[in-house]
């Protein structure tokens, strides 16, 4: 009986020691819980001049949001000239209805170049994000989620 116990416990300890390098993989699986609303700004949103352009992928303006460090890349193409800017964004929600939400989006490109938009976000649970409408100075542009 004692021998059996010794064998069993030594096996247990050895298996636990051997699995030490796998523990990090398991810890990554445990989810964390947060009190604030999710960050829906992720991915590429682009505006197009026509449906044909949208099918061909020819955009006039494009935002690429990265939520891990809240950074955004803006690129606009007009008459063959292209402008590219990088910055950090921050947002606040006025209302959040899970698939639709609106609020304010502030993008800071650095050197005093700060743009404030009011945004209207639309998504569906089946398809994911659909569009992001950014309004500034009474003009609004619809940017579509673009894979």
């Amino acid at each position: 009986m004692k021998k059996l116990a010794i064998v069993f416990f030594s096996l247990l300890v050895l298996v636990l020691l051997a699995s030490c390098d796998q523990v990090n993989n398991l810890v990554g699986l445990i989810p964390s819980f947060e009190d604030k609303l999710p960050n829906i700004f992720e991915g590429t949103y682009a505006s197009f001049e026509s449906d044909y352009d949208m099918q061909e992928g020819i955009y006039t303006e494009r935002f690429v949001f990265v939520p891990t460090d809240n950074s955004v890349t803006y690129r606009s193409v007009a008459d063959g000239n292209s402008i590219s800017k990088e910055g950090k964004y921050s947002y606040s929600y006025s209302s959040f209805q899970i698939t639709d939400c609106n609020g304010y989006l502030t993008i800071d490109y650095g050197d005093g170049d700060i743009e404030v938009f009011s945004f209207l976000y639309h998504a569906t649970a089946l398809e994911g994000p659909v569009s992001l409408t950014l309004s500034q100075n009474n003009t609004s542009t619809i940017y579509y989620y673009w894979d």
């Binding site: 990554g28 699986l29 445990i30 989810p31 964390s32 819980f33 947060e34 009190d35 604030k36 609303l37 999710p38 960050n39 829906i40 992720e42 991915g43 939520p67 891990t68 959040f96 899970i98 698939t99 998504a123 569906t124 649970a125 089946l126 398809e127 994911g128 994000p129």
Partner: protein, 234 residues
Amino acid sequence: MNKLKYILLFGILLMSCLQLFAAGNASASSNAASTMNPADVKLDGVLTAEEANALTNNRMSYDPENYDYTFGLIPPRDLDIHFTTHIYVETAMIHGFPALGGTFDIGIGVDTVTISLYARFLHFFRPMGSDTGNLYVAEEMSEVGLSFKVRAYELGRFNVNLGINTGWYQQWLMHYASNNTYNMVNNGVMLRPEASIGWNWLGRWNMELGFFYQTPLYPAYEGYQAWGVFVKIA
């Protein structure tokens, strides 16, 4: 290891003290309830409290010094006050698809009424009604609250129970871009009336099958209004 043993022992001691305290309180108010046969009572002009109770089926309180007879102060039997814990498994149709979960509750039962604190958890197989994972990859609902149940009808081992649960629910959603984090979106006061039929197997072990309707009251959230079915295992 030793510390754990002591904590466990202390917990058991505390629980048994609580039960004794409750039971003791109930019997102290009975005021010499009688187990005498009424035929044995000798009406010789001097009645003891026990004889008076025997004659009136334990419904009389008698103070011989002040010739004070008061009916109905003594309950005919001791109140059955007991400590209750229950486990439920339940399913509800939310966003058009089933969600599966369970509840654990702990409380006090007095005769046929049970008042308890409960904790509930529901897992959604289709978050927001979709399993594409394009917007939300996971959804859970948790709830803690107060539960009021009454055994409304009883015939042998069969019983019918009604209950109302109120609590604070939280909706946890995992966005596809959120890196394994659940965000709390909708939360508020939930009201859940329920009804069930039960079978009393042994002692206090009552298995029940019932249905409930849950509705978030404030702030109102239509997405979580649902009918559901539960089974009380123990």
